[in-house]
C-alpha cells in the first residue's frame, strides 16, 4: 500500500477533481462555441493520469496524450494553459499553433504529443537516453491507449528502450475503445501487459480507476527505472466514459458496460477510500472541491479574456531564424 502522507493523498484527490472540473468547464465552453475544434474527454480516467504522474519527481519528463489532462496538471501547467489551448489563444502554451493538449517543453518536463499514436514512445526513449548520457538521473514516462499499442512506433520504441535498458515507464491505458474500435478488434492478446514479455521487460496490470493502486504500480516502475532496471509496461484497466470526442455520442458502446463502469468512478471511489481510512472527512473534500471550483472560475475568466494570435505569427517559428514568405514573388528586373 502506498507510502503517501495524508497531504499527498489529499493532493491526489485535488488533482483528480481539478482534472474533472477543468473538463466540465471546457464542455461548457465547447457548447458555447468557444472551443476551436474537438474536445477530448478523460472522464473516468482521471486516476490513471494523476496516479501515474504523481509517482515522478522534479526533473523527470512525461509525454502525455490528449486524454492525459491530469498529467499536465500534476506537472504544473495551469487550467488556464489548457483552456487557452482549447480556445486557440495567443497566450496558450503553443501560441495558437497547435490544439488541445499538444503542448510542452523539456524545461517543464513535458513533451508534446503528435496525433500519430505511438510516436511518443521512441521519442520518450530518446529523452531517457539523453538523460542517461547527461547523467541527469531522470525517468521518462509516457502513455499509450489500447489502440496505440497496435502501431509500429510503439513496438520500435519499447523494444529499443528495453535493449538499451532505458529508464522509461510506459502506461498502457486500456479504456476499451479506440474511437469506435473495441479492444478485441485491436489485438488478439489476452491483455496489454502480456506484450511486455515479448520485449523482455516487466509487465504489470493495475486497476486504472484506483488512484492509489496506479500510484503504487507507477512508483515501483519508476524506482526500477531510476535504479537501472530498465523499462516497465503497465496496463491500467479503465474505461472511456465519453465518445472519442465531444461530437461522438458513442452509440457503439453497450449501455450496460457504461453503467458498470460508472459504479467504479475513480473520484467517488477515492473519496470513499479517504473516508474509510480516516484520511479525510467530508468537510475536507468539500473544502478542496470549492477551492478547485473557484480556481477554475478565475482561470476560465482569464482564458476568455486572452487574445487570439495575430495573423503574422503564422509565418514565424518554423526555423530558429527567419520567416516564411506568403505572397507570390514576381520580380521585374528588366536587363
Amino acid at each position: 500500500m502506498s507510502d503517501l502522507a495524508r497531504e499527498q493523498k489529499l493532493e491526489l484527490y485535488r488533482f483528480m477533481r481539478l482534472n474533472r472540473v477543468v473538463e466540465e468547464r471546457l464542455v461548457n465552453l465547447y457548447r458555447q462555441g468557444k472551443v476551436v475544434g474537438g474536445l477530448y474527454r478523460s472522464l473516468g480516467q482521471e486516476a490513471t493520469s494523476v496516479g501515474s504522474a504523481y509517482a515522478l519527481r522534479k526533473g523527470d519528463v512525461v509525454g502525455p496524450l490528449i486524454r492525459n489532462l491530469g498529467v499536465v496538471l500534476v506537472m504544473g501547467y495551469s487550467p488556464r494553459d489548457v483552456m487557452t489551448q482549447y480556445m486557440a489563444r495567443a497566450t496558450s502554451p503553443s501560441g495558437g499553433k497547435d490544439c488541445n493538449l499538444h503542448f510542452g517543453s523539456p524545461e517543464r518536463g513535458v513533451i508534446s504529443p503528435i496525433s500519430m499514436l505511438g510516436a511518443l514512445v521512441p521519442v520518450m526513449a530518446g529523452i531517457a537516453l539523453a538523460g542517461r548520457m547527461q547523467k541527469k538521473d531522470l525517468v521518462a514516462m509516457t502513455w499509450i491507449g489500447d489502440g496505440g499499442t497496435s502501431t509500429g512506433a510503439f513496438h520500435e520504441g519499447v523494444n529499443f528502450a528495453a535493449v538499451q535498458k532505458l529508464p522509461l515507464v510506459v502506461i498502457a491505458e486500456n479504456n476499451g475503445w479506440a474511437y469506435s474500435t473495441p479492444f478485441r478488434k485491436q489485438t488478439a492478446a489476452r491483455c496489454l501487459a502480456d506484450k511486455a514479455a515479448a520485449y523482455g521487460i516487466p509487465g504489470d496490470q493495475v486497476d486504472g480507476n484506483d488512484v492509489l493502486a496506479v500510484y503504487d504500480a507507477a512508483r515501483r516502475a519508476v524506482d526500477r527505472a531510476r535504479s537501472g532496471g530498465g523499462p516497465t509496461l503497465i496496463e491500467a484497466m479503465t474505461y472511456r466514459m465519453k465518445g472519442h470526442a465531444e461530437h461522438d455520442a458513442q452509440a457503439y458502446v453497450p449501455k450496460a458496460e457504461l453503467e458498470e463502469w460508472r459504479e467504479r468512478d475513480p473520484i467517488a471511489r477515492y473519496s470513499r477510500t479517504l473516508f474509510e481510512s480516516g484520511a479525510a472527512a467530508a468537510a475536507d473534500l468539500e473544502a478542496i472541491d470549492s477551492a478547485v471550483s473557484e480556481e477554475v472560475d478565475r482561470e476560465v475568466e482569464a482564458a476568455e479574456k486572452s487574445p487570439l494570435p495575430t495573423p503574422d505569427a503564422a509565418l514565424h517559428g518554423v526555423y530558429a531564424s527567419g520567416a516564411a514568405d506568403v505572397e507570390p514573388v514576381i520580380v521585374r528586373r528588366t536587363p
Binding site: V121, G126, A320
Partner: protein
C-alpha cells in the same frame, strides 16, 4: 576512375597524396564535431563495431565508446524518434539511415515530429539524419533512391547534399551545429571515387550557400550532388562545341540559395535543371518556378529539366543506365537549348 558513364570523371589530379575521399571527409567531420562537443552522438544500424555498411563511421566506436556510437535494432522509427527526444534535451544526435531509401520508415518522425516541433511548441530539434542516396551501383529499387523532394515539401527541415569531399566535411559540421533538423544526403557513388585536399582548420561550409563550380556565358546548369560531376563532364564536351556552360552546385536544397541561381541565370539567360531524382515534383520543378517568378524577363529560352524519368530505379545495368541522367543526355538538352 571506373563506373557507369553517368558520372563524369573528377579531375585526374585527384589521386595525389594527402587527399581525402568523400567518405573519409564525412568521418573526419563527424569525428571533429564529436571531439568538439560532447553532446554529439551517433545512432544507427551497424554503425559501431562494424563501422557502418559503407564504413562512414569506421573506428569511431573505438574512440568515443558505445555510449556515443549506438548500434540499434532494425528500427528506423526508433532511431529517428530517439534522436528527436535526445535533441529536445539538448543533445546533438546524428542518425544514420543505412541506405537513405529506409528514411521512408521514419517519415512520420521526420515530417511530423522533428519538422513541426519548433513551430507548434517552440522546442527546437537539432538533429542530423544522414545516409547514402543515389544510384549508379545497381542497387535496385530500394538501395538507389533520391528522396529529397519528399522532404523539401516539409517546412521545418533543412536539406543538404554535398558534391565534393570538402563540402561533405564542411556541410556535415554545419549540419551538426545547426539548431534545426538537417537531412544530409550523401551520394554513395562518390564515397570512394572522389578525393581532394581538405581545407585547413575548422572547415565549416555554411548551409544555404550555393557554389558556382564552373563559370560560363551561354547557359546555366543548376544541379547538386553527384550530378555536379556529370554537369562538369558535359561542360567540357560542350566547350569544344562552342557552348559555354555555367555549373551551379546548390549544396543546400532548402533553404535554397536563390540569389546565386538568379544571378547565374540573369547572366546566361538560359537554364537547365539537372537532378538524379525523378522528374515530377522534383527540386528542378521548384527552381523552374522560382526562375519564372523572379527571373522571367531574363529568360531567352524554356526552362529545361534533365532528370531521371518517373519510374522506380531499375536494377539491371542497361536499365539503370537508361534511367540515370548522364553527360550525353545533358549535352543533348544543352545543344537544343543553346540553339533555341
Amino acid at each position: 576512375m571506373s563506373g557507369p558513364a553517368h558520372l563524369g570523371a573528377p579531375d585526374e589530379t585527384a589521386t595525389a597524396k594527402g587527399q581525402t575521399t568523400y567518405v573519409d571527409a564525412i568521418r573526419e567531420g563527424l569525428r571533429e564535431e564529436m571531439q568538439r562537443d560532447p553532446s554529439v552522438f551517433l545512432i544507427g544500424e551497424d554503425i559501431g563495431v562494424y563501422g557502418g555498411a559503407f564504413k562512414v563511421t569506421d573506428g569511431l566506436i573505438g574512440e568515443f565508446g558505445e555510449e556515443r556510437v549506438i548500434d540499434t535494432p532494425i528500427s528506423e522509427t526508433a532511431i529517428v524518434g530517439a534522436a528527436v527526444g535526445a535533441a529536445m534535451m539538448g543533445m546533438r544526435p546524428v542518425a544514420e539511415m543505412q541506405f537513405i531509401d529506409f528514411i521512408s520508415c521514419a517519415f512520420d518522425m521526420i515530417t511530423n515530429f522533428a519538422a513541426k516541433s519548433r513551430y507548434r511548441t517552440g522546442v527546437g530539434v537539432p538533429l542530423v539524419i544522414r545516409g547514402p542516396s543515389g544510384g549508379g551501383v545497381h542497387g535496385g529499387p530500394f538501395h538507389s533512391q533520391n528522396p529529397e523532394a519528399y522532404f523539401a515539401h516539409t517546412p521545418g527541415l533543412k536539406i543538404v547534399q554535398p558534391a565534393t569531399a570538402a563540402d561533405a566535411k564542411g556541410l556535415i559540421k554545419a549540419a551538426i551545429r545547426d539548431d534545426d533538423p538537417v537531412l544530409f544526403f550523401e551520394h554513395k557513388f562518390l564515397y570512394r571515387r572522389i578525393k581532394e585536399e581538405m581545407p585547413p582548420g575548422d572547415h565549416v561550409v555554411p548551409i544555404g550557400k550555393a557554389a558556382v563550380r564552373r563559370a560560363g556565358r551561354d547557359l546555366s546548369v543548376i544541379t547538386y550532388g553527384a550530378m555536379v560531376w556529370t554537369a562538369l563532364e558535359a561542360a567540357k564536351i560542350l566547350e569544344a562545341e562552342g557552348i559555354d556552360c555555367e555549373v551551379v552546385d546548390l549544396r543546400t536544397l532548402f533553404p535554397m540559395d536563390e540569389e546565386t541561381v538568379l544571378e547565374s541565370v540573369a547572366k546566361t539567360n538560359k537554364a537547365i535543371l539537372l537532378h538524379e531524382a525523378t522528374r515530377t515534383g522534383g527540386i528542378g520543378a521548384e527552381i523552374a518556378a522560382v526562375l519564372s517568378e523572379r527571373c522571367f524577363e531574363y529568360l531567352d529560352g524554356p526552362l529545361v529539366r534533365v532528370t531521371a524519368p518517373d519510374t522506380p530505379v531499375p536494377y539491371s545495368p542497361p536499365l539503370e543506365e537508361a534511367f540515370l541522367p548522364n553527360a550525353e543526355k545533358l549535352c543533348r538538352a544543352a545543344r537544343a537549348l543553346a540553339g533555341y
